[in-house]
Symmetry: none
Subunit: 206 residues, 4 copies
DNA sequence: AATGAATGAGACTTCATTCAT
DNA sequence: TATGAATGAAGTCTCATTCAT
């Protein structure tokens, strides 16, 4: 009995190990050759495993990609979905600044995975729609917040949808600047975007 | 003599005609199947011409793409490079609003070509770098304008590079909203982005 | 354990079998259609295997050719490199005659492969240079032998390089006569070339 | 009338001129890219004429080649067919030496054309058979000469066919040495081959 | 005669996927 | 599970040849 279980466990461990090796290899090859430029042969040989073995663990490149990207995708999804209901103008600073900062920090900490995502957005429909979902949700959240602020006479009467999109688009594009190291100073970006946002949206006097 | 010239002209006309047919066909196939999904066979058969003929006119898909896209690329490059030096706050409205509006209008009027560009950005390095150049120039221009405004005490002392990027990123992403018909009301977008921008950047009290 | 080894062996055997089938098929197609006239499609279909399979075993036609030809090339290289230092005129007969005879015999026994080589010399640089190397070495060897004979006053004072080339050229061209069955009597050819050679080169009186 | 004839003549002249330009261009391209590597496009563009024009003058590459090569082929054919009937041993020297010398001189004076022929032998059946015919005739001639010499007890009783082939093969291969500039000294080659030949074939004592 | 645009057969090559071991 | 040999569809591209001008 025990012997049998050990066997099973050994197999599982081995399988998990192979799987991990594949994912690491895939990450490195994707970064080097891009999504379409990568073949299963590249991945398997760099992982030091057999050709067909990749197929056992991942049905196709798409699935491999999803697994590589899923973790970070989930994280950014969470960051983006933080709910806030500022009762006073002072709270806004804390909340908005932090949200921008968190997104950019995530980008900086996972540059490589985001670089893969960047490439994948043009080639994988699944990744693309996942990505779009996240930011649409971000926009929805921001719209709600703006509504709340408008109702409490904190924000000027602008088109919430447009403003929300605008601010989210800015953050999203700065994310790529961080990922590709065109920008580094996360604090400054967060600060300035916050100023632009609140200056443009919130009533200053009163 | 006349006969000879006619001959030359006839040939040129025919060639130009074929070339045009290829470009139209390519446009339609690109839209339908995407850049990578398109083959020279698709293009030639839809254009009703021979297979090898495409190769006479265009060395490869890349070159074909450039030709399709070049006109619109040039146009957007021009729109983006309009110089302005507002002396008074009142002028800013006119200029900024108009620039946003012009970009979005161009997008609306050339939806199909921009859809091809959208796809091409992920697959053609040439197109990508051309596109990036245009918007980097846009950013540079905006930085200069902000400097000018800051020196004349029209604008608040924010980081010009970040603010310029922010506003350009917003416009660029709204461009895609227009292209993919997720947004339609160009006036309203221009209006709101203008308000966000000026509200965030310019000194309100005077 | 044993099971595993069997698996490996089974695969290896299968692979070797396919490889052999390709080589045989290639040999037959090369003979029939010539080197340039042969396509991988011809080879694969005649071998009764899949199209892409050939590419697994051989990178290109060149490599395939080398494999076909290598064995015979090596053999002729060896025959040609036999060293001899005749101390007496009587030995010369034995040695020279035998060398000519060996080359021609090899040609007769491997007619088909030599026919492929014949064709390949005009199309494959690798084969051409391999072939030239072999016969240049043959010439070098013959020059050395002539020097030796001259020093021992067996040979007349002719230009060794030219004489050596001459004799090698004769043998090489008779090789093709054998290969293409324009000549058959190897003994007679060897005999006569030997006579021509020794008669022309060696001192008769003494 | 006269006007008409002038017109005709003008046309003929122009046509001949074009033809000549094509041949020169073809020669240069053949030398540079080899027979199979040369396309009609290469030839026409280097000749500075229209694409289809080549087809008016030459049906295909083969025909073009023949025209390029014909002159030299005829010349070598003539050199090779010189009849001789030496009555005395002294005459042999004069005749044999001269024939070898003439062949090699022709090679030296037409290196480029022979280089084209060299390449063509592996690709053009017509050229190949023309070439073979010439040297077969050379062999036939040499056989006859040997018979004559044997009947007059000038030559030893060797197999005439084999000896004739041997000597012709040597000359033919030295021809390529000259063409490819691996050898330069025609006199010395002729001298040595003559010595080898006569030493091997003719009765020395008497 | 001269031109060069148009043609399309066919060679080459890659690679996702299957499958026997 | 792991392996890698085998497969063939599908794409790229070339070039001899035709033909309208």
């Amino acid at each position: 009995m025990e012997k049998h279980e050990t066997k099973i466990d050994g197999r599982k461990k081995r399988s998990a190990c192979t799987r991990k090796a594949i994912l690491e290899s895939a990450k490195s090859v994707f970064l080097e050759k891009g999504y379409t430029g990568t073949t299963f042969k590249d991945i398997s040989s760099r992982a030091g495993i057999g050709y067909g073995t990749v197929y056992i663990h991942f049905k196709d490149k798409e699935e491999l990609l999803q697994n590589l990207v899923d973790d970070v995708m989930t994280k950014i999804g969470k960051v983006v979905y933080i709910n806030y209901s500022p009762s006073r103008y002072a709270d806004v600073r804390e909340i908005v600044y932090n949200q921008i900062y968190s997104v950019l920090k995530l980008a900086r900490e996972n540059r490589h995975v985001f670089q893969i995502i960047w490439d994948a957005l043009g080639h994988s429909k699944v990744t693309r729609s996942y990505w779009d979902d996240i930011f649409n949700r971000f926009i929805e959240r921001t719209i709600e917040d703006l509504h709340y602020s408008q109702e409490h006479h904190l924000a000027r009467p602008l088109q919430t949808k447009i403003i929300a999109k605008g601010i989210v688009y800015m953050i999203r594009e700065f994310l790529w600047d961080i990922v590709w190291e065109r920008e580094n100073d996360i604090e400054q970006i967060s600060e300035n975007l916050f100023e632009l946002y609140t200056g443009g949206v919130y009533q200053t006097t009163e």
